[in-house]
């Protein structure tokens, strides 16, 4: 009996232990579906007005129009996290739970980071080593965020040029070369309008969390913590 109870409890425990990842994955998929359906409706509305060909859902999902709209948002999200991960090594905001304490600025010691001879039995294998593997693992989060940022920004550039040139042709204008699109307002406007909103979200989170609280959230200081207490521990 106890075995079967444990077996039925296992999936539930797994769901609980991964609920944050699962919830945001579902939100991501739901939002992508919403974006695809509304984007397709908008595209086809304009196409019908101009008596031009409409797209099926599958055609829209593989179109440059959908790709650029997705990629321009993705690149800015990964840039936001990349900058946040890197800048918070050295930059601090007193009173913010998102920040380290001023005296902790920098890469910190082997002991603080539990690496090399200070690694514990639970430390990842490469944290116990020296040399390139320790260096690579020590920067793996920033590296992957940076690579995904560059990949999605490149995808925005490629798909953006294709979508822009389709519009150019519909407007009886010549398509742009790669070099021309690199200097085009369309590419940089799509880029900057996403970047500004990400930077606003970060600065808002850093500053608001000094004075405001959300009881129980690890993103907030404890409700009773002083405004000038810095770091996640409150």
């Amino acid at each position: 009996m106890s075995d079967s109870r444990a077996a039925t409890g296992r999936p539930r425990a797994w769901l609980r232990d991964h609920s944050l990842t699962l919830a945001f994955t579902l939100l991501l998929l739901g939002a992508l579906v919403g974006q695809a359906l509304t984007g397709l409706a908008g595209y086809n509305e304009q196409a019908r007005d101009a008596q031009l060909p409409t797209l099926s859902l599958l055609q829209y999902l593989t179109s440059s129009q959908f790709a650029v709209d997705v990629a321009e948002n993705w690149q800015s999200e990964y840039l936001q996290f990349l900058l946040y991960i890197l800048l918070t090594v050295w930059l601090v905001q007193v009173g913010s739970p998102e920040s380290k304490k001023p005296e902790e600025r920098g890469r910190e010691t082997f002991e603080d980071q539990r690496i090399g001879s200070y690694a514990t039995s639970g430390s990842p294998a490469w944290a116990k080593l020296r040399g390139w593997r320790l260096i690579l693992f020590s920067h793996s989060l920033g590296l992957v965020m940076g690579l995904v940022f560059l990949g999605s920004w490149s995808a925005q550039f490629v798909a953006g040029r294709s979508a822009y040139n389709a519009d150019q042709i519909q407007d009886l204008q010549a398509p742009l070369t790669w070099a021309q699109y690199l200097q085009a307002p369309d590419f940089w406007n799509r880029t900057f309008q996403n970047w500004q909103s990400e930077f606003l979200a970060v600065v808002t989170m850093v500053v608001f969390s000094i004075y405001l609280r959300e009881r129980g959230s690890p993103e907030s200081k404890p409700v009773g913590a002083a405004h000038d207490s810095t770091g996640v521990d409150g």
Partner: protein
């Protein structure tokens, strides 16, 4: 003989986190390659052939009219009357070869030796949206035949 790892909690912990990661990679690849999907030499060829077919059929206006996009056909008929009589009066240049072609999704521009033709790809194939076009510096092409 394939030896399967016993299904333990440890094995599960190692396997499951791969799911969202794989999903992100697949979505990223779909986005990265999506923009290129509609372009290709096959559609370059089809758009070029349609542009040439239009120019070559100008001597047979009824046939040329069938190669016009709906919006362009409507605009021509609203302005000049029945297509097969109005089209010859447009004095469109007749080209014989393709110089260059650019296809982006369902839109194409074909530069012929004596004309520039814009096209769109409908379910029935590539149709001419504008013809008799000449470039203007920093502005849209000026076209003898185009939609509204």
């Amino acid at each position: 003989m394939v030896v399967r790892q016993p299904f333990t909690m440890t094995a599960r912990r190692q396997r499951w986190p791969a799911t969202p990661r794989t999903l992100v990679v697949l979505l990223f690849l779909a986005v990265a390659t999506g923009g290129c999907a509609p372009m290709g030499s096959a559609e370059d060829h089809n758009a070029s052939r349609a542009a040439l077919a239009f120019d070559r059929s100008l001597g047979d206006p009824a046939q040329a009219c069938r190669l016009l996009a709906p919006g362009t056909l409507t605009e021509l008929q609203n302005t000049f009357g029945a297509c097969d009589r109005a089209l010859p009066r447009q004095d469109l240049p007749v080209a014989s070869r393709v110089v260059d072609v650019d296809v982006y999704g369902k839109d194409a521009i074909v530069r012929l030796d004596r004309d520039v033709v814009f096209l769109a790809r409908f379910d029935s194939g590539w149709r001419v949206t504008a013809a008799g076009c000449t470039p203007q510096q920093g502005r849209p092409f000026t076209c003898t035949l185009k939609g509204s």
